[in-house]
Amino acid sequence: METASPAPRRSGPSGLALLLPFFIFFVLFWLIPLLGSLKMSVYADTLVSAPEFVGLAHYRQILNDPRFGKAFFNTARYTVAILLIILPLALVLAQAVRMSHRRFRPALTFALLLPGLAPPAVLALLFLLVFHGEQGLLNQLLIMPFGGEPINWLKDPHYILPALVLQAVWRWTGFITFFFLAGMENIPRSLYEAAHLETNHRWQVWRTITVPHLRPVLVFAAVYLMVDAFAQFSGAYVLLGGSGGTGDAGLLLISYGYQNAFTYGKFGTAAAMSALIAPWLMGIFWLCMMRTRRATA
């Protein structure tokens, strides 16, 4: 509930002093290496002899590279898909957890977290078994019994990206549900009481109280998922081992960056790629947050 409040404190010395710890580490362990990366991105890719300055050559090359475009397009689709699936699903699950029997709640919440806790190396093996062709678990247990044709998730270019989306949904829905649960616990009861005086409809209460209050958490969850899609290597690695699969159908920006850096040894190009993607991401985040700011003002 936003009551009228006196103007927030102008940033005095003691206020900004609280920023110091964060920004010391920020400069020491983020900014300095980042500048090193930017420097690397304008030098040649040589591994042994002293690299020569090449200016924006890497950047130009990347923008002309059709595989980069493909990776960008794949990553965008992948991100949108996981946002559209995980966020609503997690909301529903969080509500479901709150509606389930009290005693089961800790166990249920923990079970939801488990997929996110599993080490990527183990998940790589597990997904090999789950997403395999005819013998894979997904086909054997959920598709073939219902009369469907087995899908070759890992090789059929039409299904590689869906397989990536599925594994992300599996891994992260629980985590996001956890965030929402934490957010829901923070909603004051008095609000529900007041709302209950006006309507008995659970759905209405949910729509007018719960969801708006969760908006900041929603933004956070969306950012978390976007970061996972763009910057976490484990997702792509777990399913495809870092490659893009048939026709590069599953090539994500992060896997392409990794390929450039470690398979081809082109560290400068990889650095340029990260530098190119970053502003885009920032822009998207900023948009998300601007919308929240306005909504809760």
């Binding site: 894979g136 490659s243 048939t246 398979t263 040894g265």
Partner: protein, 436 residues
């Protein structure tokens, strides 16, 4: 006056003692450095923990047989992890190893520049390795005429077959002397819905090499014999179309689940692979089929002039290299030389690591030629020795990793799915390989 001269004396005395201290510390530092240079253990980087066990044994063996003061630290980091760490160490020059055992797949990227490894050409010339290592394998870790690494394995390709299923379908190894024979037999079986062989993207270059060409020319030109490349691609796809070759679900015969599904269900009756394929993968993943696998040479190709191609081919392999800035190159070389020439070391690498050495004198050891119970008491070693003279060379070039990787990961499947012609594949790959 007195004060000034006193001060001067003190100053001079001070400077003299400082200089003495400096001198002493320089001398002791040099002594220490020299001393520690002698005592510093060699750092050896390996991919897997089991190889690490082998090299630690080799260090002990070396200490016993050659130099008891030798010390080395063997470190394993993982199949993909070790090369990642290596490339960062080389790029930054920080904490590199002295010796590294590298798979050929990961060596290619270092060929675009001066390889960051010691040029071993002259040392090899002065060693039994010069004549001992199979000549076609030596170029695996070379650039031009300069040798940068010693290849460890012969990597001869053979055909593993199910003796019981061959009997069931009335086939003998003699029926498969050429690939034409193979297709004929395959068609007969395909009529009964039985496929012969699993297919893998690596077979393209393996077969191409068997026919005398390769995916790159020594100066980096893609598909030097374009017609042969197209024909080989179409051959593979025809095998699939005719039901003779079966593409595993994950596209690769190196997939463990391939064994628990396709192989176990007897959907294929033979597999093409190197020594470690049969010894590692078949034994691990088809333990119940012990004694039911046999080994035979590959079918040959009929050349245009009517002669037959060799009955084997090759693919990849591992080698030992010395980092260019290693402070103890001589010590490192002596160790590598030992591991690669000592018979016991070579035999152990076969028995423990399932890797048949490229060092020919070691083949005389009876343990290399012992019959394998798993292969119906055939001697895999003997077959490899028989095929060895025909093993072709792999053309090494900086563009090789990209050529292999892009083909294996995406182009091959698109082609085998009938989504492009062989000509289109070759053209697209050429463009990709030629791009920077």
């Amino acid at each position: 006056m007195n004060e000034n001269s006193a001060r001067k004396t003190v100053k001079i005395a001070y400077e003299v003692s400082m200089r003495k201290m400096l001198f002493r510390s320089v001398v002791s530092a040099a002594l220490l450095a020299g001393f520690s240079l002698q005592a510093k253990p060699l750092k050896i980087w390996i991919s897997s923990a089991q190889d690490q066990a082998y090299y630690e044994e080799m260090v002990t063996l070396y200490q016993k047989k050659v130099d008891k003061d030798f010390t080395a630290e063997v470190e394993a980091f993982g199949f993909q992890e070790m090369p990642d760490k290596l490339s960062v160490a080389i790029k930054t020059g920080i904490n590199p190893p002295d010796i590294v055992q590298l798979d050929e797949v990961f060596f290619g990227m270092y060929l675009s520049d001066v390889p960051p490894f010691v040029d071993l050409t002259d040392r090899v010339k002065a060693s039994p390795l010069a004549t001992g290592i199979h000549p076609k394998r030596m170029p695996l870790f070379s650039k031009g005429n300069r040798v940068y690494g010693i290849p460890q394995s012969l990597s001869a390709q053979v055909l593993y077959y199910r003796t019981d299923l061959f009997k069931k379908y009335n086939i003998t190894p003699d029926d498969l002397k050429t690939w034409d024979d193979f297709v004929k037999v395959g068609e007969r079986l395909a009529a009964k819905d039985q496929a012969m062989m699993g297919l893998d993207p690596t077979f393209f270059e393996i077969l191409l090499r068997q026919r005398g060409s390769d995916i790159l020319s020594p100066d980096g030109k893609p598909y030097p014999d374009r017609a042969l490349a197209i024909d080989t691609l179409n051959f593979l796809r025809d095998l699939q179309t005719k039901g003779i070759g079966l593409r595993p679900y994950r596209g690769s015969v190196f997939d463990p689940v391939f064994f628990s599904s396709t192989v176990e269900e007897e959907k294929v009756i033979c597999l093409l692979g190197a020594d470690w394929y049969g010894l590692d993968m078949l034994q691990q993943f088809t333990p119940t089929l012990a004694g039911k696998w046999g080994v035979m040479p590959l079918p040959a190709w009929k050349n245009a002039d009517g002669t037959l191609s060799p009955r084997t081919s090759t693919f990849a392999g591992q080698g030992m290299l010395i980092y260019k800035d290693c402070p103890q190159v001589d010590a490192a070389w002596k160790f590598i030389d030992f591991v690669m020439t000592d018979t016991e070391a070579n035999v152990q690498r076969y028995l423990q690591g399932n890797s048949f050495t490229a060092f020919r004198p070691a083949w005389k050891d009876p343990r290399m030629l012992e019959p394998n119970a798993f292969f119906a008491h055939q001697s895999l070693g003997q077959l490899l020795v028989d095929l060895a003279p025909d093993v072709p060379a792999v053309v090494m070039h900086a563009k090789r990793p990209k050529a292999m990787f892009v083909f294996q990961e995406s182009m091959y499947s698109t082609f085998m799915d009938d989504q492009m012609t062989a000509e289109e594949l070759v053209d697209q790959m050429t463009e990709i390989i030629n791009s920077p």
